[in-house]
C-alpha cells in the first residue's frame, strides 16, 4: 500500500513486537462516505457500552424524534442512548446483541417513520461558524462541556465504548492530548475516511477537549499508510490556523493503534503497570470521538450514528457509511447488494468477533463489518501442539512470553499465568496470528483472565461470607458468654442473698433456739414445780 512522504513532526520511538498482516484497506477507502436507506427497524442494544445496561425511559407505542433520549444511564460507566431516527417504539425485548457471546439482551426496537425528524437540538454554544482561532480563544465552561458530553451519550468510538466524560474528568497534570488516528487493524478505514472528509471538525473537537485542560499540547498519531488523511489533517490545520497541533506519523505495524503502544510510539514512555495514561499526563481520544464531541458541543447532536466500514470480498459496495445505531447487519448486507457472505465479522480481522447471526444491530463500538467470501479469512485448522518456537514472543507488543502464558492457561495454572503477567496482555492477537501451530492463543488468555476474575469475585464473596459467619459466630459466642456471665452473676447474687438470708436465719434461729431453751427451761422448771407440788 501507498505510504505517506510526510515526515513526522515529533520524534517517533520504537515498540517491540508487532506484525504486518495484509492491509486490505484499499477495498474500502476509495469511495466517498455514503448513506444507506433506513432499515425497517432499528434494534438498539441497551448494553452497547462498557458499563451497566441503560434504563429505557420510553414505552412500547411511544413516538420518538431523532435524537430524543430513550434510555438513561445506570451507574458510573453506563451511557445515555438516543433515538437514531424518528418513529415508533414497537418493542422493548430481548434480542441477540453485538457481543462475542452471542447472547440475548434487552433492546429497544424502533420502527422508523421515514421522516428522520430531529428533536430540538441544544448546543452548549453555537460554535459552528467559529474559525479555529476564534474557537481557540473562546472561554467555555468545563462543567457545561462535560455535562453535554455525558448527556449526549458520547463514548469512546475506538472500540472500548468507555464513556468519554469519565476519561475527561481528571484534569490535574494533563499536558498532552493524543488523537488516535493510527487505525492499525487491516480492512478498517473509517477513521482514515473521516479524516479525509471531516478533518476540520475532528480538529475542532480536539480543540474543545484541550480547552478542558487549559489548552494543552495536541498530537495526532497516525500510521503512514494514510497519505490522504495526513494531507487532509495538514490542510485542515492550516485553514483553522491551529498550527500548534503536531502530526506524529508512525510506521504501519499492527498494533500501533493500541492505546499503550501509541503512547510508547509517540512519547517513548510506557504506561506503568496498574496506572493510566493520565498518570503520565496524557489523555487519548479516537478521531471518531473528537468528531462526536464537536457535534455534541457545537451542534447539540447526540451520538445516534457512526461511520462504519463495510468491506470484505463478499461486499458489493465496499466503503464507509454513516450507519444509525441499531441498524441490523442483514440490512447492511442487502442494502449494499451483497450476497451470501461466508462469515460476518464485527470489527477488524485481528480483534473482531464473528457474529452469531445477521439480526444483530450496530452499536457504538462497531467500526467495521467484514462480509467475507469463501477462503478470504484464515480458517482455523486443528491446532497442533505448541513447539515453543517463540514467534509469538517476537510478535508480542507487551514483551510477554505468550508460550508460557499458554502453557499455564491450558493447564489451569492461573497463579502461574498471573506471575507471567497475564493481565498485561492487550489481546491484540499478534501471537495467534504468527503461531505456526495455529493455536487460538487469545482464547486461552481470555479464558484464563475471566476465570481468574470470577475466582476473585468468588473469593471476595466467600471472604465476605466467612466474615459474616465469623461475625455471627462471635455474636453468638458473645451472647452465650454474656448469658453465662449474667447467670453467674445472678447465681452469685442468689448465693449471696441466700447466704445473707441464711445468716439472718441463723441469728433468728439462735434467738429462737435461745428463746426455745429458755421456754423449755421454764416449762421444765414449771413441770418440776408442779411435780413437786403434786408430790408434795
Amino acid at each position: 500500500m501507498e505510504r505517506s512522504n510526510f515526515t513526522s513532526e515529533i520524534a517517533i520511538f520504537e515498540i517491540p513486537g508487532g506484525v504486518h498482516p495484509e492491509e486490505h484497506k484499499l477495498q474500502s477507502n476509495q469511495a466517498e462516505i455514503r448513506r444507506l436507506p433506513l432499515a425497517d427497524e432499528l434494534v438498539i442494544n441497551l448494553k452497547g457500552q462498557a458499563g451497566n445496561r441503560s434504563l429505557p425511559v420510553v414505552s412500547v407505542g411511544d413516538k420518538v424524534l431523532k435524537g430524543q433520549m430513550i434510555a438513561e444511564c445506570d451507574g458510573v460507566f453506563s451511557a445515555y442512548q438516543h433515538a437514531p431516527t424518528s418513529g415508533e417504539v414497537i418493542a422493548i425485548e430481548k434480542r441477540t446483541i453485538a457481543h462475542p457471546s452471542g447472547l440475548d439482551d434487552l433492546c429497544i426496537v424502533i420502527k422508523p417513520d421515514g421522516e428522520d425528524t430531529w428533536a430540538e437540538l441544544s448546543p452548549v454554544e453555537n460554535l459552528e461558524d467559529l474559525s479555529g482561532k476564534e474557537l481557540s480563544g473562546k472561554e467555555l465552561s468545563r462543567e457545561k462541556i462535560l455535562a453535554q458530553i455525558f448527556e449526549k451519550g458520547i463514548v469512546g468510538l475506538g472500540g472500548a465504548s468507555f464513556p468519554s466524560h469519565i476519561k475527561l474528568k481528571q484534569k490535574d497534570n494533563i499536558h498532552t492530548l493524543i488523537i488516535n488516528a493510527a487505525e492499525c487493524e487491516p480492512y478498517i478505514t473509517c477513521d482514515d475516511k473521516l479524516l479525509q472528509e471531516h478533518a476540520e471538525e475532528v480538529l475542532k473537537g480536539a480543540e474543545i477537549i484541550s480547552k478542558l485542560y487549559h489548552d494543552i499540547k495536541i498530537i495526532v498519531g497516525i500510521e503512514d499508510n494514510k497519505p490522504k488523511a495526513i494531507e487532509a489533517l495538514d490542510s485542515a490545520r492550516k485553514s483553522l490556523e491551529l498550527d500548534s497541533i503536531k502530526l506524529g506519523i508512525v510506521p504501519t505495524k499492527y498494533p500501533s493503534g493500541g492505546e499503550k503502544q501509541l503512547i510508547q510510539l509517540l512519547t517513548g514512555q510506557e504506561v506503568p503497570h496498574g496506572k493510566l495514561p493520565a498518570d503520565l499526563g496524557l489523555v487519548m481520544h479516537n478521531v471518531g470521538t473528537c468528531f462526536a464531541i464537536y457535534q455534541a458541543i457545537a451542534l447539540g447532536k447526540p451520538l445516534v450514528e457512526r461511520l462504519v466500514t463495510l468491506t470484505g470480498e463478499a461486499c458489493q459496495e465496499p466503503g464507509n457509511y454513516w450507519i444509525p445505531f441499531g441498524t441490523p447487519v442483514h440490512h447492511l448486507v442487502t442494502a449494499t447488494g451483497s450476497t451470501n457472505p461466508k462469515r460476518l465479522i464485527m470489527g477488524g480481522p485481528m480483534m473482531g468477533y464473528e457474529l452469531p447471526n445477521d439480526q444483530v444491530g450496530i452499536v457504538k463500538a462497531t467500526n467495521c463489518i467484514i462480509m467475507s467470501a469463501d477462503g478470504e479469512l484464515g480458517m482455523d485448522k486443528t491446532a497442533l501442539p505448541c513447539i515453543r518456537c517463540g514467534k509469538c514472543m517476537d510478535a508480542c507488543p507487551a514483551s510477554l512470553l505468550p508460550q508460557q502464558l499458554y502453557w499455564h492457561a491450558q493447564a489451569d495454572e492461573f497463579d502461574k499465568a498471573e506471575e507471567y503477567d497475564l493481565f498485561d496482555c492487550i489481546e491484540c492477537g499478534a501471537c495467534a496470528y504468527v503461531c505456526p501451530s495455529h493455536i487460538p492463543l487469545v482464547q486461552y488468555y481470555r479464558y484464563a483472565k475471566s476465570t481468574i476474575r470470577n475466582n476473585r469475585i468468588e473469593k471476595s464473596k466467600a471472604e465476605k461470607a466467612r466474615e459474616r459467619h465469623e461475625a455471627r459466630q462471635e455474636r453468638l459466642e458473645r451472647v452465650k458468654r454474656e448469658k453465662a456471665e449474667r447467670h453467674r452473676k445472678a447465681a452469685e447474687a442468689r448465693k449471696k442473698a441466700a447466704a445473707e438470708a441464711g445468716k439472718k436465719d441463723a441469728k433468728k434461729a439462735a434467738v429462737q433456739a435461745a428463746l426455745a431453751r429458755v421456754k423449755a427451761k421454764k416449762e421444765a422448771q414449771k413441770a418440776t414445780d408442779d411435780n413437786q407440788d403434786g408430790e408434795s
Partner: protein, 371 residues
C-alpha cells in the same frame, strides 16, 4: 459451521512449512556429504525417516491420538532426517533403526509428544548409539578422493545391510587412505595424534587435515552454514542461538590457541570441523528443546559452544555437539525462568532469586512434562 475466534487474518506460518524448510536447508550440506562420503548417507536417511514415521504412527495409535495431522506436521521426519545426517555413512542398518525409534519413543513420546520433550530427540538417539557402539559410530570413511577403496552405491548397500562395518578388517580397509595410512575424521585424527605426543602442526600435516578443517569436512560444514543462513533469512530460526554457539566455541578456543598453539586448535578449525554447523544451525535451534527468551537463547547457545570445545579438547570424545546440546537442554527451564523479558509498563524483571522462583522452575519442568 462453528464460530471462529479472532484473529481471522490469514496466518502466515505453519509447522509443516517450517519443518519443510529445515529439510530443504540441509540440502547443500547433504550434497557435500554425498560427494565426499558416498551413498551411505542416502540409505541412512531412507531408513531413519521411514522408521521414524512408522514408529510415530504406532505410538500415536497406542496413545489414541489422531495420526494423520500429527504425522503431517513433519516433526518426526525432521528428527530422523537430522539424526541420519549426523550418523556415519556405513552404519549397520539396525543401529539406525534402533537410534531413530529410541529417539521417537523415549525422547519424544514418553514426554508427551511434540512440544513436550525436554531433550532434543535426534541427539538422544545419537548419544544412545555413540555410547553403545563407539566403534561403528566413529567409523567415518576418508573422503572419497583420499580413500584407497572408495565405496560405491552397491557396496554401500551391502555394507550397511550385512553389518560388515562391524568387522574390524573391513573397517580397516575402508578407512585406508591412498597413502596407505588409516584415516579418521580430522577431529579424531588430531585427538589421536595429540594423545601420542605430537604437536598440532605435526598432526595437521596429514592429508586428511587441510584448508579450514580438512578435505570434505570443511565443505560439509560450509554446506550446512549456507543452509543455515537460508533458515535465518526465512526467519525459520532465530539468529541468537547459532551465533551464540559459534561465539561460545570461539570464547574457549581462542584463548587456548593463543596460550598454546602447539596443543590447542585454531578456532576456525573448530568452526568447520565435525558437526559444528549442523549443530549450530539445525540441532541447537530445535524450538521445542531450546530456550525461548531472547536472553535465554544467548545463554543456551553460548553454553553449547563452550561445552563442545571443552569436551573436544579435554574430554574423551572427538566431537561433542550432541552432549553439549543435551546438557544445555536440561538447563532450559531454569534459563527461561530467569531471563523473562521486561514486560511493558513493568520496572524490572520479576522473580530473580526469590524462593518463588525456585518453585517456578520445578513447576515449569512439570508443566512441560504434563501434556
Amino acid at each position: 459451521m462453528s464460530i471462529l475466534s479472532s484473529p481471522f487474518a490469514k496466518k502466515p506460518n505453519s509447522v509443516t512449512q517450517m519443518m519443510l524448510w529445515v529439510v530443504i536447508a540441509t540440502l547443500p550440506g547433504l550434497l557435500a556429504l554425498l560427494y565426499f562420503f558416498g551413498f551411505g548417507v542416502l540409505f541412512n536417511l531412507v531408513i531413519a525417516c521411514s522408521v521414524a514415521l512408522i514408529t510415530e504412527a504406532l505410538i500415536l495409535k497406542l496413545r489414541k491420538r489422531p495420526i494423520a495431522p500429527i504425522l503431517w506436521d513433519g516433526s518426526a521426519f525432521v528428527t530422523a532426517w537430522l539424526l541420519a545426517l549426523a550418523l556415519p555413512p556405513l552404519l549397520p542398518w539396525w543401529m539406525t533403526v534402533l537410534g531413530t525409534s529410541f529417539a521417537i519413543v523415549f525422547a519424544k513420546h514418553v514426554y508427551g509428544g511434540l512440544g513436550n520433550n525436554i531433550f532434543n530427540p535426534a541427539m538422544v538417539g545419537y548419544v544412545l548409539l555413540l555410547i553403545s557402539f563407539p566403534l561403528e559410530m566413529t567409523t567415518w570413511l576418508p573422503p572419497q578422493e583420499l580413500a584407497a577403496n572408495p565405496v560405491g552405491f552397491i557396496e554401500a548397500i551391502s555394507i550397511i545391510f550385512t553389518g560388515a562395518a562391524s568387522d574390524p578388517a573391513i573397517v580397516d580397509s575402508l578407512k585406508q587412505g591412498v597413502d596407505g595410512f588409516t584415516m579418521a575424521t580430522p577431529l579424531d585424527h588430531i585427538k589421536t595424534e595429540l594423545a601420542q605426543g605430537y604437536r598440532i602442526p605435526e598432526a595437521e600435516s596429514a592429508a586428511i587435515v587441510s584448508g579450514l578443517s580438512g578435505v570434505g569436512w570443511q565443505w560439509v560444514n560450509l554446506g550446512f552454514l549456507a543452509g543455515g543462513l537460508v533458515l535465518l533469512f526465512k526467519r525459520i530460526i532465530g539468529w541468537q542461538i547459532p551465533i551464540a554457539v559459534l561465539l561460545g566455541m570461539g570464547l574457549v578456543s581462542l584463548p587456548l590457541f593463543f596460550a598454546n598453539s602447539d596443543h590447542y586448535l585454531f578456532p576456525m578449525f573448530h568452526g568447520f570441523a565435525g558437526a559444528t554447523m549442523l549443530g549450530a544451525f539445525f540441532i541447537a535451534t530445535d524450538p521445542v528443546t531450546a530456550s525461548t527468551t531472547p536472553k535465554g537463547r544467548w545463554i543456551f547457545g553460548l553454553g553449547i559452544g563452550v561445552i563442545t570445545v571443552l569436551i573436544r579438547t579435554f574430554g574423551g570424545y572427538p566431537d561433542a555437539i550432541a552432549f553439549a546440546v543435551l546438557l544445555m537442554n536440561m538447563t532450559v527451564p531454569m534459563i527461561d525462568y530467569y531471563t523473562k523479558p521486561r514486560v511493558y509498563g513493568h520496572k524490572a524483571n520479576k522473580g530473580h532469586g526469590t524462593k518463588k522462583g525456585h518453585d517456578e522452575k520445578t513447576s515449569a519442568i512439570k508443566a512441560k512434562g504434563a501434556n
